[in-house]
Symmetry: C2
Subunit: 348 residues, 2 copies
């Protein structure tokens, strides 16, 4: 198991709840616009938000942002170690940097001392686009190179006594990403920030993120997740929450299982399933609701669910806690099923 | 590795290309409507289509459907073994049934003899909704129960000499599904039909299917896939193809990698990435195109891609085969990048 660290008040690693991250897309110096993105992300379920700190103006905005933000903030810094120090001194809750590109030994020591003095954690790690030449030469553009590059980045800070480290090793292809994190989880006990980098936009970006992050979560790897999607904080946070739900890592929601419907289906189970999903989308308790088109798998799934329905041409059977409770006409199926769902939620 | 069987002319297992399946949603007796779904599925990339055979009229339609279909067809049968025999005699290319519910020993023997005489393969397997009582009692509703139930189903046919078997073991939750298939791949060499059952509709159904199937494909498990989605053959086929692409199992397409954009991005990389994805959606050759917002990961990813662009406020650098070839204005980035993409495709 990974060790536990704290990012502001949020525990990360060591069996803590897997947290959701995203990154703002506007310039950090524009406090109001940044806060709008942060608030929107948090309202959708983000636990941590990262911001790019490119210059003095961005760094100067951090103190105000830290005061205003409802969640811990991470400063993303490249090249200029002064910005890292400024960010930490502004009270930012975590820093993301690459110790290999901030200006050599003295810069690394200065940043390390500042991190330690403020108790601020740091994320380091590798991206397939920025692996050091020596690792590329030794291992090719591979999972091994990504993992070794990430561990090397950590070692640059470890030498100066930094311990609160989070690691990442992201490739733009799913298989390499998954393998790199497997290697990291074998070789260190730092909390792991998991994600697929540069996954792209739309459907393919979502699928690459979901399969990569999801595969790792199913193996128990990953302490904090970010779904990188071209185009939007909201999309990223919703996708991350959906991945946590789809993998069963987050169970506090209404799970609607429904059959894909086939030539056996005598009523519109798909439409009913969609209505039930919509009607229960804000439920924050674990409940499993089955909407089944026929009896082939319907009865079994219906019985396995907390509340279920298995349809037929003229009548549907409603199940509660594995027992058939009554038969209703398909025309009132939604109403009758939701009645049982509400009753179940009230009781449990 | 799984053993290889043939479904019509399509090889399945033994390292063959992973095939995509779906299932029609209209009554099988309505030949024109079924053919419309089959043709649509095949045009989108389906390799095999399954149909529910509920009665004599459905079974009677199979001969015509087999003659008309551009792809192998699978008859899905429950309870009535006569329908299985009729389907096989109609020339259907595979049968999906549950030997445990077709009427006992004599029925199983009759179906087995018919399958062998016609050289027709069969899929058997378990669903979390239909696990035999004995396995539920012994193992609970678990991956172990699913896997043992599937192997038991196969054994009922093996006793009568049936060898061309495809296995499945689907749960409606992702973790159980993945574990069940891992067990099957350890315990037998039958080709595996992988999918998550009753995954539901919309986004959650897609994510559950993607993470479950994707995790297995990354481990080299899975010979044919079906993404079960409430509501639509087309959706299922597109999702399956996207999963094969996202996992790298299918490489014959234009992969657009792009960064999620952050406060560092000085031009609209998201919009450019989307345009490039759209412009290359019908490419059937492997090409990796990187659209990057800035230089932090941009240069590395740009160099790793076959063709890439890394942006800036006033100019973007275009990379081909890892070399910067020229600098262009963001206003003509799409045109200039596509010029290089077309040139690369013409050459490779």
């Amino acid at each position: 198991m990974s060790k536990k660290i704290f990012v502001g008040g949020l525990a990360m690693g060591g069996g803590s709840r897997v947290s959701v991250q995203t990154m703002t897309t506007v310039k950090t110096e524009y406090v109001s616009a940044v806060m709008a993105e942060i608030n929107s992300a948090v309202s959708l379920g983000a636990d941590i938000v990262r911001l790019a700190v490119r210059d003095e103006r961005d760094a100067a905005a951090l103190r105000e942002l830290v005061a205003l933000s409802p969640c811990p903030l991470v400063a993303d810094i490249h090249f200029d170690y002064h910005l890292a120090i400024k960010s930490v001194e502004s009270g930012v809750h975590k820093v993301r940097l690459n110790p290999g590109n901030i200006g050599g030994e003295r810069a690394i020591k200065a940043v390390s001392d500042c991190l330690k003095a403020n108790g601020t954690p740091v994320r380091v790690g590798s991206n397939s686009g920025s692996i050091e030449k020596e690792f590329l030469e030794k291992y090719g553009r591979s999972a091994e190179a990504l993992a070794e590059s990430a561990l090397y980045s950590a070692s640059l800070l470890e030498r100066f006594g930094v311990q609160n480290i989070v690691l990442s090793a992201k490739a733009s292809d799913v298989a390499t990403t998954v393998r790199a994190y497997e290697l990291l989880s074998e070789r260190c006990d730092y909390p792991l920030h998991v994600g697929v980098t540069e996954a792209g936009g739309g459907k393919m970006g979502l699928l690459k993120g979901a399969i990569g992050i999801g595969s790792l979560l199913l193996k128990g790897i990953g302490d904090t997740v970010r779904v990188s999607l071209t185009g939007g904080v909201e999309q990223e946070v919703i996708a991350a929450r959906d991945i946590l739900r789809a993998t069963g890592v987050d169970k506090n929601f209404a799970e609607v299982v429904s059959c894909p419907t086939c030539g056996r289906c005598d009523y519109d189970a798909a439409a009913l399933a969609e209505k039930i999903a919509k009607a229960t989308e804000n439920v924050q308790k674990p409940i499993k609701i089955a909407v089944m088109g026929c009896v082939v798998n319907g009865v079994g799934e219906g019985k396995d669910a907390d509340v279920g329905i298995a349809g037929g041409k003229d009548k549907c059977v409603i199940f509660v806690g594995g027992e058939a409770v009554r038969t209703v006409s398909p025309s009132v199926a939604e109403e009758e099923l939701m009645k049982e769902v509400r009753a179940w939620l009230a009781k449990n």
